[in-house]
């Protein structure tokens, strides 16, 4: 198998590339990123890994990559995970990376002479969480088409649907709607939220969350690459727990606050500390439960979450744990 991986310099892309380079059934990984070079990838086996800096928002560069080097090297599968991670940025440039690049890439891969499989990493956040919807979100659940949603979310819904529109065509497509990956540098809202010494949550609500580890996300992508099942697959993580327990796991103070106060308080935090966390983006899941149902991924891709997430614990918490373990 020869695989083209976009977003290879991001934490998930890097984990996917590492896994593929280490796999026996993978002959070559063509890793794509925006940066001219990447130290961590440079240390991997150069015989099995080729890194290219390509700006996929430029249609000509994308076309040259897919119909040039990828065709010459006989790439037969593509993993696409190159959406803009930060919720702070917005605008046409971000939209071009999030949506236009996906559209161009999936079009370029359709009817390609060598590419047969396309795995798109989507997001569990595309589902509309309401008080009227089930706690367990399966692949048929309604998507969030709220025009008032931030661009970060609107782009993800649009990109997801753009890929889904090609399902049933000549390209074998798997869309993986992953639960939130709780890790640094992946654009996780929850990770940023859990950095505060005290985490505020809506008083009287303790919704269920499901979080995914970087290792499991990479494993799900690898399973989808090797499988032949097409369609949309939810990818839940191993950790399903109430928000209060997530705060507790991170060693932070759990502070329930009347709901209407949260938006101004987190707005103030964002303004003062320049943090990533947007309460407006999380208001629904901080009230209503939303746990991805991974039955389809388990049955058709053979994916089972195994690795628990690494909670963003404070330094003193980690120190106490180490001292406790030594004692």
């Amino acid at each position: 198998m020869k695989v083209l991986v976009t977003g290879a310099t991001a934490p998930l892309g890097e984990a996917v590339v590492r896994g593929l380079v280490a796999a026996r059934d993978v002959e070559l990984v063509l890793a794509i990123g925006r940066e001219p070079s990447h130290d961590a990838l440079a240390r991997l086996d150069p015989a099995r890994l080729v890194y290219r800096a390509v700006d996929l928002t430029r249609p000509r560069a994308l076309h040259d990559l897919v119909w040039g080097e990828a065709r010459e090297r006989g790439v037969d599968a593509v993993v696409h995970d190159m959406l803009h991670r930060s919720a702070r940025d917005r605008g046409s440039g971000v939209h071009a990376q999030n949506v236009d690049a996906v559209r161009e890439l999936v079009l370029a891969c359709t009817d390609h002479p060598t590419i047969r499989r396309f795995v798109y990493r989507s997001y569990g956040e595309v589902y509309a969480l309401r008080h009227t919807t089930s706690d367990l979100v399966d692949e048929e659940a309604p998507l969030d088409f709220d025009p008032a949603s931030p661009q970060w979310l609107r782009d993800r819904v649009e990109a997801d649907l753009t890929v889904c529109a090609h399902l049933g065509g000549p390209l074998s497509i798997a869309v993986l709607r992953c639960a939130e990956i709780l890790a640094p540098g992946v654009g996780s809202q929850l990770w940023d939220y859990l950095q505060s010494r005290f985490c505020l949550r809506p008083l009287g609500f303790d919704p269920m969350l499901n979080v995914l580890s970087l290792e499991d996300a990479a494993a799900a992508i690898a399973a989808a690459l090797r499988g032949s099942a097409t369609g949309v697959f939810n990818v839940p993580g191993r950790d399903t727990l109430p928000l209060s327990a997530a705060i507790e796991e991170s060693g932070r103070g759990d502070l329930p606050v009347p709901g209407p106060l949260l938006a101004p308080l987190y707005g103030l935090r964002r303004w003062l500390a320049g943090s990533e966390f947007r309460y407006g983006m999380n208001v629904r899941r901080f009230h209503f439960g939303g746990v991805l149902d991974g039955t389809r991924a388990r049955g058709e891709l053979g994916f089972m979450p195994r690795t628990p997430v690494h909670w963003p614990r404070a330094w003193w918490h980690l120190l106490l744990e180490r001292l406790g373990a030594r004692a």
Partner: protein, 271 residues
């Protein structure tokens, strides 16, 4: 066991539960059901209400399955649905099983109640959640009258309201579990509604209920469990609206008969 022994045991149990809580040594299922909190806080708080305040009498407890999934279908009444909570306590008392109550979406919009309902094992009244729970072998409790039952006038007490569109029956048919009808008698008189203020409403509630008394009256509760109802046709019948309607009618008739029997058998409201 002497009185001091009982208190020693209770204090030791409370300390053990608190310790377990603080160390995080408890599990919460994917719906948010916190079994540890239910066992150590909710049930001990509600039992005196069930045993001493409402002096609940139970008939037909042997009809509650000791294992496997089932759908417990009951009538609904009261200013706030205390009958649902008493039914959950009653099932636990009789069969040591947890009743996973299905609640209206309104419940999950309300602060505090939403959190309590989830931790106590409740979930949204929708077929996917109900079916998942029943397939997993849980007892699921449903009140097909919904708000119509809770908000009905006192003059209509113990008259079953419309049973929706039989969604609960199709869930039972699809999962192949029995339906256990339960008549709850006493809840209608314990906390009747004096008035409904539609001008004062919050969190999407249709009205603010004004109860006739500041606390629920200590009427005697009667829980009468009927024999399990099993319907022919299995999962295929769930897709047939006629079969669903027939099964829903049978469940309603069984519940009505239980209700009439329980009302006729009691000596008075408070006795």
């Amino acid at each position: 066991m002497t009185e001091p022994d009982i208190w020693d045991e209770r204090v030791a149990g409370a300390i053990a539960a608190l310790r377990q809580r603080l160390t995080g040594d408890y599990e919460v299922d994917e719906f948010g059901f916190d079994k540890h909190l239910t066992d150590s806080v909710f049930l001990p708080l509600l039992r005196p209400l069930y045993r001493n305040w409402f002096r609940t009498e139970v008939v037909g407890a042997e009809n509650i399955p000791t294992e496997g999934g089932a759908l417990v279908v009951a009538n609904h009444s009261g200013t706030i649905p205390l009958d649902a909570v008493m039914l959950a306590v009653g099932v636990h008392e009789a069969a040591q099983r947890y009743l996973r109550l299905l609640g209206a979406d309104l419940l999950f919009r309300m602060p505090v109640l939403s959190e309590l309902a989830r931790k106590g094992g409740g979930t949204l009244a929708c077929n996917p959640d109900a079916e998942r729970l029943m397939r997993a072998g849980d007892l699921v409790g449903v009140f097909p009258e919904g708000f119509k039952g809770v908000g009905k006038p006192f003059a209509d007490r113990y008259k079953l309201q419309r049973f929706g569109r039989g969604g609960f029956v199709s869930a039972a048919l699809r999962t192949g579990v029995p339906i256990i009808p339960v008549a709850i008698v006493g809840a209608e008189e314990s906390w009747p509604v004096l008035a409904k203020v539609t001008a004062l409403r919050a969190f999407g509630a249709p009205y603010l209920p004004i109860p006739a008394s500041p606390v629920p009256l200590p009427v005697r509760y009667h829980l009468r469990y009927g024999p399990p109802l099993r319907f022919a046709g299995g999962p295929d019948a769930a897709a047939d609206p006629t079969a669903v309607a027939i099964a829903a009618r049978e469940a309603r008739t069984a519940l009505e008969q239980l209700l009439d029997g329980a009302c006729a058998a009691r000596d008075g409201v408070f006795r």
